[in-house]
């Protein structure tokens, strides 16, 4: 415990006071393997920002501050930790403590709750500089609405798929305080903006859409697509999670087998997750086991190889903010069939096939249509999709957009 605090305090001395500051609040520390996130942070640093990451748990590292983990501690440890946090904050950050309490009182929170939150967000209150405080998703910002004003920062939040779609359903009205405090919202798709509006986000809050980017150099075909007569090799790259709608795909395939027995389809599902038993059971019960395979999680190189060998990609989610796998498949010049869940239609654009969600028979029709797609039409569509990606989803564009997102802050405070 002490080591953790000391490490965190040691880092704070490296803060460069000249640069505008961005504090990113995340649930878990980004691992080095999460290239998407680390690239984003690096992009902001390259654009002249000082970026610190505040996390609930996970690995430490340069510029990463971890919470004390009070909620997960034993009662005795949590009392000691909280006492430490309050004392240090009162001694070193009295102004922030005062503003935090005032803001929390204004939100109608009681003294015990305020004291608990102060200790829970010790890492932010102690180490963040004024500038921007940006939350990785909305649920993270719930309960932390007073932090930015206490620090003297602007507050930003990202709309992610599952978070904004599910959290308000489970906790109705929970985002009201957040909307009253947030200065700017980042969304990954227009549909998520609409979802947030349905959950009370006022029109007065500026929203900026910045989509994730795809590594277009890596996801590039090395050999032209070769169709196999009468075969349809379908692939889905996704976690095995109920929101991915894979059970509906299996139902569609059963339908396809009955309606078009001449189409020799095979279905590869790449990814792991809690639903393996459910999906393997579904495939077995519908008599599809010999044509459906679960490959588990694969390395990017293997995924690329799989796309090389496939005829089409399906992502039939019931909830999906934004799907990188679909873009990667499009980058590999595969026809993509997606559901109409949130961000998916925007992901694939005009060149993908969009099927209403939870409608396996319609999905079966779409698959049958792809199976008989003339070679020239297929080529034209998939190349157009690749071109669109090159124009809209490149990494450089994304980096610039994020730098722009936080630009308003320069010299303001």
């Amino acid at each position: 415990m002490m080591r953790q605090w000391c490490v965190a305090r040691g880092k704070s001395s490296n803060v460069n006071a000249e640069k505008p500051f961005i504090g990113l609040v995340l649930a878990l520390a980004p691992r080095y393997s999460e290239t998407f996130l680390t690239a984003k942070v690096q992009g902001l640093r390259d654009n002249g920002y000082e970026v610190a990451v505040f996390v609930g748990s996970g690995e430490g590292g340069p510029g990463i501050y971890r919470a004390l983990g009070i909620a997960k501690s034993t009662p005795v440890r949590s009392v000691v930790m909280s006492g430490f946090a309050w004392t240090m904050l009162l001694l070193r950050r009295p102004g922030r403590v005062w503003r935090f309490i005032r803001s929390e009182r204004a939100l109608g929170r009681g003294p015990v709750e305020i004291a608990q939150r102060m200790a829970a967000y010790y890492h932010v209150l102690m180490h963040a500089r004024s500038g921007w405080l940006h939350f990785g998703f909305t649920a993270l910002a719930v309960g932390a609405e007073s932090l930015a004003s206490a620090i003297g920062s602007r507050m930003g939040v990202s709309l992610r798929g599952y978070d904004i779609a599910m959290y308000p359903l489970k906790h109705p009205g929970s985002l009201a305080d957040l909307w009253s405090k947030v200065d700017k919202v980042h969304t990954i798709s227009d549909d998520l903006t609409l979802t947030a509006r349905r959950h009370g986000m006022p029109a007065s809050i500026p929203v900026v859409k910045i989509t994730p980017a795809v590594d277009l150099e890596f996801f590039q075909r090395r050999t032209p697509h070769v169709a196999k007569e009468g075969a349809l090799r379908i692939v889905t790259v996704s976690r095995l999670h109920w929101k991915k709608g894979i059970e509906y795909v299996l139902m569609a395939l059963k339908e396809l087998s009955v309606a078009k027995p001449n189409i020799a389809w095979t279905y590869k599902i790449v990814g792991d997750g809690a639903e393996l038993e459910r999906l393997a059971f579904a495939a077995a019960e519908m008599g599809l086991s010999d044509r459906v395979s679960f490959s588990g999680k694969q390395k990017q190189e293997a995924v690329r190889e799989l796309y090389e060998q496939a005829d089409c990609c399906v992502q039939y989610s019931v909830q999906e903010g934004f799907c990188n796998a679909v873009l990667e498949a499009q980058a590999m010049e595969l026809p993509c069939i997606v559901s109409d869940a949130e961000g998916l239609p925007e992901n694939v654009g005009e060149d993908g096939v969009v099927v209403p969600r939870r409608q396996p028979e319609m999905l079966a029709n779409a698959l049958a249509a792809v199976a008989v797609l003339p070679v020239d039409v297929r080529k034209e569509k998939t190349l157009a999709a690749r071109k669109r990606l090159e124009a809209k989803f490149n990494v450089e564009r994304q980096r610039e957009a994020f730098a722009e997102f936080f630009k308003i802050n320069r010299g303001v405070r």
Partner: protein, 411 residues
């Protein structure tokens, strides 16, 4: 030799039921109480907080392992003291058993072994197959006959997603002395996993006489709204996601009130409710006691929907049929063994929403006399084939067979 084993079986061997959690499911409790009329019975399980009260008779010894860490330590110490007091504690084999999977698992293995060692039952009846492997290992401490109940998930879907479990089943099933299969469908699954076919008996669940004696409620003439009821925990196998898809279509043409007694919906179902716009028509209600559920079936529903993706035989469907509530169920597992489509209920395809919608529609459009006929057929069927006393006596025979096989093994 044969005479000797026969006479030992005649002594009526004692049985320990490994039920997992206490209180256990009501159908297991009913079986235990029935068996206890003729044998010494011990129930072993972990304490679970819950509203349902214990339903075991006075002649059943219950070994309930507490939930809290301190409670478990006290329980283990108490058991050890009792064993020492009797002078029957053999430290070396016990130590070997508890340390088999390393120090981290040692305490939980100790808790597993102690109640069995205390009572030294001659038969151990494992209710849930996932507990079989550890129970087989317990035989290193002393020899007993093993009976395994083949029930739903543990047999038909769990091994599909868990290679280690599949390996354990394949290793352990040939050593089980007798299997109780809840239906023929699950019998086939077990054989595929390595169970010896001649050791399996299909013994259908039974219903208490008292339930069959309850007077039938009057059927409603007009099914507006159509009051659909489902009962059972929230789990993908229970197929509520399919039922909600069906309700989403049904509400376009029918007035529907769908109640699910299961507790709060999980994320998947919650999103689906909003997505399909059926919040008004679907109500999730907290779990209830069996008596309360039966009351709901008798008075607050027109039809029981069993939308499961996989089942042995849903006990709730047996109860509904006994109470005179018509049943629409999916054609999965042993359900077709219970329901004769069109005569004692309606069946539909679990992997086709339209099939479920059609079944519900055809029920909603069914004239009163057809519904009356169907539920009477269903109740007669249950009265003829699913009586609790039949289940208990078949189980007693199964225990005797298991004892004989176990004795033969020793010789």
């Amino acid at each position: 030799m044969t005479v000797d084993t026969q006479s030992r079986a005649d002594r009526v061997a004692s049985v320990a039921f490994l039920v997992g959690e206490i209180p256990c499911a009501p159908f297991i409790a009913a079986l235990i109480n029935g068996v206890a009329a003729r044998r010494t019975v011990i129930v072993v399980g972990s304490e679970r907080s819950g509203k349902r009260l214990d339903v075991f008779g006075a002649n059943v010894s219950v070994e309930r392992c507490p939930q809290s860490r301190l409670g478990r330590v006290r329980y283990a110490a108490g058991c050890l003291l009792r064993l020492v007091g009797r002078g029957s504690l053999e430290l070396e084999p016990l130590w070997r058993f508890i340390m088999k999977n390393g120090r981290r698992r040692a305490f939980s293995r100790l808790l597993y072994a102690l109640p069995i060692l205390l009572h030294r039952p001659e038969i151990v009846h494992v209710q849930w197959a996932k507990a079989l492997h550890r129970t087989m290992e317990l035989r290193e401490l002393y020899s007993f006959a093993i009976v395994l109940s083949l029930r739903g998930t543990h047999i038909s879907s769990s091994p599909l997603g868990d290679a280690e479990l599949l390996r354990e089943y394949q290793q352990d099933f040939p050593g089980v002395h007798a299997f109780h299969a809840v239906c023929h469908a699950i019998e086939a699954d077990a054989v595929a996993l390595g169970a010896l076919p001649d050791r399996i008996r299909v013994i259908y669940s039974g219903i208490d006489e008292a339930v069959l004696a309850l007077p039938l409620m009057q059927l409603r003439t007009e099914l507006r709204p159509l009051r659909i009821l489902s009962v059972g925990r929230i789990h993908w196998r229970k197929g509520y996601h399919r039922a909600l898809d069906a309700i989403g279509q049904l509400v376009r043409t029918y007035q529907v009130e769908y109640r699910i007694i299961a507790g709060s919906p999980d994320d998947e179902l919650l999103l689906q409710l909003h997505d399909l716009g059926i919040l008004e028509s679907v109500h999730f209600e907290p779990a209830m006691s069996q008596t309360e559920v039966m009351e709901q079936m008798r008075t607050k529903a027109d039809v029981l929907l069993v939308p499961s993706m996989g089942e042995g035989i849903a006990n709730v469907a047996i109860e509904a049929m006994a109470l005179g509530l018509p049943v629409v169920a999916t054609h999965c597992g042993g359900m077709p063994e219970l329901i004769d489509h069109g005569r004692t209920g309606l069946l539909c395809d679990p992997w086709d929403v339209h099939s479920m919608v059609d079944a519900l529609k055809s029920f909603a459009d069914m004239p009163l006399d057809r519904r009356e006929e169907m539920r009477t057929n269903a109740r007669d069927e249950i009265a003829a084939t699913r009586r609790l006393d039949g289940l208990v006596s078949a189980m007693q025979v199964l225990y005797d067979e298991a004892m004989v096989r176990s004795q033969r093994e020793k010789l």
